[in-house]
Amino acid sequence: MIHRSRARIAVIVTLAILAFILILAPYIAPFDPTQVKMEERLKPISMEHLLGTDHLGRDVFSRILTGAQTTVGASFLILFISLLVGVPFGLLSGYLGGKIDRIFMRIVDAFMTFPDYIVAIILSGFLGPGMFNLVLAIVMVKWVGYARLARSVVLTEKQKDYISMAKINGMSSLNILRRHMIPHVTGNVMVLATLDIGKIILMIASLSYIGLGAQPPAPEWGAMLNEAKGFFYNAPQLMLIPGLSIMMVVLIFNLLGDYLRDHFDVKNQKG
């Protein structure tokens, strides 16, 4: 079992570092990420500028740090809202069943038939470019997934005998939901959420890349990649660094997601 505890420590440590960067980014960033200094343009990596400077002389290291706050911070915000909206909706619809459930399923089907990227693009299209609209667009896409998951967990558990037992003991629906359903739902939702963060980060970065998310001069990783497009020749690192940061953060969450899924599967299988 050492393997498991070693993995658990590694996961917790990386999460701590990430949280540290996220919260303290503006304070530990050596330079003002949006301050333009044309004379410092396209500087290579040096002691002064740990990751060099971009085409407007801004310090890349500071932009990456504060960029983390926008990209990763926004994805946590999206996740939080999607959970807040989706899970209760799924719980009630699954538990109460009947007409509500049928209507709910129609809404979900409509959302689900469309690929999430397309819906996000179209929504942010109608709402107009900008970070707030992008967050809103992705939330409208993502909440359905959590509603559906919560609903499916409730439907499977609802038929189990221990729910009938609870009903026989005269427990109210609310009590049954709270005491019996929530533990099951949190397990599954946690796994989906961790795997989803990676997807949301990629979505924010991609949409910012094509100009629908963060608007210049905001230091968002996707937008930084877009700005770096013109400088392949003389400053390839401008393009490498933001890409690598996105990849690393998403990789960490995917690893965490895989770990949680295996951990929870063990519990679910046995139960």
């Binding site: 221990y162 009938s164 037992m165 026989i168 003991n169 005491r179 533990p183 099951h184 046995k270």
Partner: protein
Amino acid sequence: MRVVGQEILTVKNLSKEYVCGHKAVDQVSLTVNKGECLGIVGESGSGKSTLARCLLALEKIDEGEILLKEKSLYNANKKSLHPVRSEIQAVFQNPSASLNPKLKIIDSLMEPLDFQRKIQPSFLMDIRNQRTKMAERLFEMVGLPSKYLSYYPHELSGGQKQRVIIARAISIEPALIILDEPTASLDVSIQAKILNLLKDLQEDLGISYLFISHDLAAVNFMSQRIIVMKQGQIVDQCSKHDLFSDRRHPYTKDLLHVFEA
């Protein structure tokens, strides 16, 4: 040993029809007296489990009436159903499905007592407010070491889990426990112990049982009176002693032939 008289459960012409028109339970009437075990035997599809779910008010019934200690269980609305309902408990076939895998054993065990504060079971009166002590005593009554209280269901065997469920069923000293195939998924040796335990508890606590199973031999071992069900109807009814008399319904004779071999 059997206390005659006070009728715990009375069922009159109970019918339950499924939406496809198939009559799962058709005009069933029966009574269970105090401290008695009434056995119901029947193949799958005979309606015996549907009958059990109707008696437990888990499913609505289309016709007839259910009286528990002379108080009507069926046409009472949800609110007044509650006090009557606590007089009836259940043990189902699959022990793993009857315990929430995410809750510790003690939480599942104490659920009835936790959620029905008003109930004062006689054998727990002295420690009614000490939750762990009650749990330990209940485990003693069903022969389980109290260290299992902090375990999770997947750490116990089928037989042990069924004992936990029996302990939970008796915890609020109900008038009647409905046992729907309680030992069908257990090995023969464990089934013997569970059946013995149920008999001991009936003698100690005077709880009435409705023992439902496809296994005529197990039903015969547990019950004083036996009802035979087929396609939703009661086709035969007799006391245990004249099970082999030739007045029995042909279907009962077939069952006897199969189980006696």
